[in-house]
């Protein structure tokens, strides 16, 4: 009969935790439905379309260039929207200083003469931006503008040379079109990835991983800390339950719950957002299980070092903040320097996002070491938390 006592104790913890979860609908709403709603708003509201920069083109007074804004549409490309073409540089700069436009392009005086003199003309693109990402984008557009204008100049030059050659009686001088001479190569992008998710679909694995980690960390940490602060640990201390049984019961309970959330989330992502899932369900389940196990371990660790509920919430939010910044959710992990990049992988979500993404969109992963890393994190976090909690339970 003694043999059945351990399962009885573990099942008691499992049952109690599951009942507690179900009876706290507000926690469910904030932790599960909250991220879903955010995802839905993101999906509905985000188009992936970057607003073109409002542009003023300043021409020299005697340039003879067209003053109609529509004439510059093709030259500027989609990234720039020419609102106005003017010769009043001061007025244009005033509008830029008041942030009424994003960019002022000042054309140099007499490009043709300068070109014929064998010199470069400087086209000035002026911006008033503090966001480094926007500055980089503007710089990119300026380079595009520069290339487009250069191409037009070359085309014009080729046309002039061709008519001169015709005048000289050369045979078939129009065989090669001017635009080919100006731009002899054109890049044609061919994506060999097995699927091409939309922007919203692309973020689905990150949302799934983030939901699972945040849910697992927060719920189990709060559950343990509540028991610590309410004195229930005293009941556990006098009862025959061991720390291992207590931890096992909680891991099973929250594992079941997180598994259910994972199934529901993936179902919603596939049915609602048509997110492609190429890999066998077993791979997705394996990643989810390892991610949840390591996240639960992290939550237990937070609970073991926390003395109060507010402290637990703070630490959980710090983990969430670190996850948003470092996990590849917003910024690519490859953009971080090496020591930081290595540290990032102690966050379960950093591995979860990559693995979910690979298995969903590619059907396989080339970073299978991250599966082992997740398993190692689970063992390390759970083991450390167990040792700390055992010491706390035995403290006298």
């Amino acid at each position: 009969m003694r043999l059945f006592k351990t399962p009885t104790r573990i099942l008691a913890i499992v049952g109690k935790e599951l009942v507690s979860i179900v009876r706290r609908p507000s926690a469910l709403i904030s932790l599960v439905l909250g991220p879903f709603l955010i995802m839905a708003v993101f999906g509905i509201g985000y188009s992936g379309y970057r607003r073109p920069l409002a542009t003023i083109v300043v021409l020299p007074a005697d340039s003879g260039l067209p003053t109609d804004a529509n004439a510059y549409k093709g030259v500027a490309g989609d990234g720039l929207e020419v609102d106005l073409v003017t010769t009043d540089e001061a007025a244009a700069m005033d509008r830029l200083n008041h942030q009424l436009v994003d960019i002022v392009v000042v054309a140099p005086p007499d490009i043709k003469t300068t070109f014929e003199a064998g010199r470069r003309s400087d086209i000035q693109a002026r911006v008033n931006l503090t966001d480094p990402v926007q500055v980089a984008y503007a710089e990119f557009l300026a380079r595009g503008l520069e290339a487009a204008i250069n191409r037009q100049i070359i085309e014009q030059a080729v046309d002039q040379v061709r008519s001169f050659a015709t005048d000289l009686g050369l045979r078939d001088p129009t065989r090669i079109p001017a635009y080919v001479i100006a731009a002899p190569t054109a890049a044609d992008l061919d994506n060999v990835a097995p699927s091409e998710p939309t922007v919203v679909q692309y973020f689905a694995p990150a949302v799934l991983a983030l939901i699972l980690q945040h849910l697992a960390v927060t719920l189990i940490a709060l559950s343990v800390v509540r028991e610590k602060t309410s004195g229930l640990f005293e009941l556990f201390r006098i009862s025959p339950i061991t720390t291992a049984e207590l931890v096992t019961g909680k891991l099973i309970a929250y594992g079941i719950f997180a598994g259910a959330v994972a199934c529901a989330t993936i179902g919603l992502l596939v049915a609602g957002f048509h997110v492609p899932v190429i890999a066998q369900p077993g791979w997705i389940a394996l990643v989810a299980a390892l991610l949840v196990a390591s996240s639960l371990g992290l939550g237990l660790l937070i609970a073991a070092v926390s003395d109060t509920e507010p402290q637990t919430v703070q630490l959980s939010l710090l983990v969430l903040l670190a996850s948003v910044f470092f996990s590849g959710f917003v910024l690519a992990i490859s953009e971080f320097s090496e020591p930081v990049r290595s540290l990032i992988y102690v966050l379960p979500v950093a591995n979860g996002i990559r693995l979910f993404g690979d298995f969903m969109f590619r059907g396989a992963t080339v970073v299978s070491w991250q599966l082992w890393l997740l398993a190692g994190l689970a063992v390390a976090y759970i083991g450390t938390a167990w040792l700390l909690l055992r010491r706390e339970m035995a403290r006298a």
Binding site: A12, K16, V19, S20, F236, A396
Partner: protein, 353 residues
């Protein structure tokens, strides 16, 4: 009514079958001594009441028995084992009801008890039976499906009591089980505690209700971390007054000093010209002698009776004497205090035993 020194002896010295043994235990928190020189031996099948005001050190003592705290000095043994070395089997033999509510607010009364029963390893069939039994015992059967957060304060205490009893432990440690419970239900709880005692269980119960001392087999009065009295309830009265107490009113002035020297008379306190309090060895034997002596001096006795102090009064006397004794280095000062007020030094009683 004479004090039986053996009864005190039996609770103050290690008995062969002591369930709880506390020897020379002190506990300090940083520079504050919360318990000092505690000696306590609880024989099997008794109810030991630990009575004292709030902050006296009762809960600290209890927590040392559960293993939550270790003594700074001295030895604690529960069921033959030091609390920090409890094995699972030892824990299954102990029931504990903490002072503050520690159960799950979002579980129902029945679920909470079932959970605790599971922690103690009760398998399904027995668990189901015991949950039903204790729910009925503490009168919570009708609200078994109600969440703990929706129970009244008294119901919560009963729920915790049920949790402490559900696995039918040998030693039951109850930290203020009757706090916040109405007198009627308090009576039924004590009735159940007596039934458990009669069934061979050992109970250690703390309480602030001094009047509940009468419900216990042995009472340890604890004040400022020291046991100021340790005796069965009836003996406490004698400890407080150094014997039985007679209350005499005379119809004319009478000098109480005339009674000193009479056989069995220990002390006389004159409380007005016509009112005496006489401490005697045995009220039954001494009362007629005292009355006869007063009458023989030509003074009529208006009333004469044995005075039974309430436990509140006893407690007040013992606390006062305990406090004075701790600070009185001069033994004569302590004795004169005892002579003036009547009580025997409880520390002396405990140490003599």
């Amino acid at each position: 009514m004479a004090a039986d020194p053996r009864s005190i002896e039996s609770i103050s010295k290690p008995a062969g079958d002591a369930v709880v043994e506390i020897q020379d235990v002190s506990r300090r928190f940083e520079d504050r001594e919360v318990l000092s020189d505690i000696n306590l031996f609880v024989p099997r099948g008794t109810i030991l009441g630990v009575i004292g005001p709030s902050g006296a050190g009762k809960t600290t003592m209890i927590r040392m028995l559960t293993g939550a705290l270790a003594p700074t000095t001295g030895e604690v043994s529960v069921l033959g084992r030091r609390p920090h070395a409890y094995r699972r089997q030892d824990r299954e033999r102990i029931g504990y009801m903490p002072q503050s509510f520690m159960l799950y607010e979002d579980l129902t009364a029945g679920e909470n008890i079932d959970f605790v029963a599971s922690l103690f390893g009760l398998l399904w069939r027995r668990r189901r039976r015991r949950v039903r039994e204790v729910l009925k015992l503490v009168d919570l059967w009708d609200v078994r499906g109600r969440q703990a957060r929706r129970l009244s304060g008294g119901m919560r205490r009963r729920l915790e009591l049920a949790c402490a009893l559900v696995h039918d432990p040998e030693l039951i440690i109850l930290d203020e089980p009757t706090a916040g419970i109405d007198p009627l239900l308090r009576g039924s709880i004590w009735k159940e505690l007596h039934r458990l005692r009669d069934a061979g269980r050992t109970l250690l119960v703390t309480t602030q209700h001094v009047g509940e001392a009468d419900e216990c087999d042995i009472v340890a009065m604890i004040v400022d971390g020291r046991i100021v009295a340790l005796a069965p309830p009836n003996e406490l009265r004698r400890l407080a007054t150094n014997g039985d107490l007679l209350d005499i009113e005379t119809s004319a002035d009478f000098d109480g000093a005339n009674l000193i020297g009479l056989r069995g008379v220990r002390a006389v306190t004159q409380d007005g010209a016509r009112h005496l309090r006489v401490v005697v060895d045995d009220a039954g034997r001494s009362l007629p002698i005292v009355v006869e002596t007063i009458r023989a001096s030509g003074v009529e006795v208006a009333s004469a009776r044995e005075q039974r102090l309430s436990f509140d009064e006893i407690f007040a006397i013992l606390v006062a004497s305990g406090g004075e004794l701790r600070f009185a280095d001069d033994a004569r000062s302590a004795e004169s205090t005892a002579d003036d007020r009547g009580p025997t030094s409880p520390d002396r009683t405990a140490s003599a035993a």
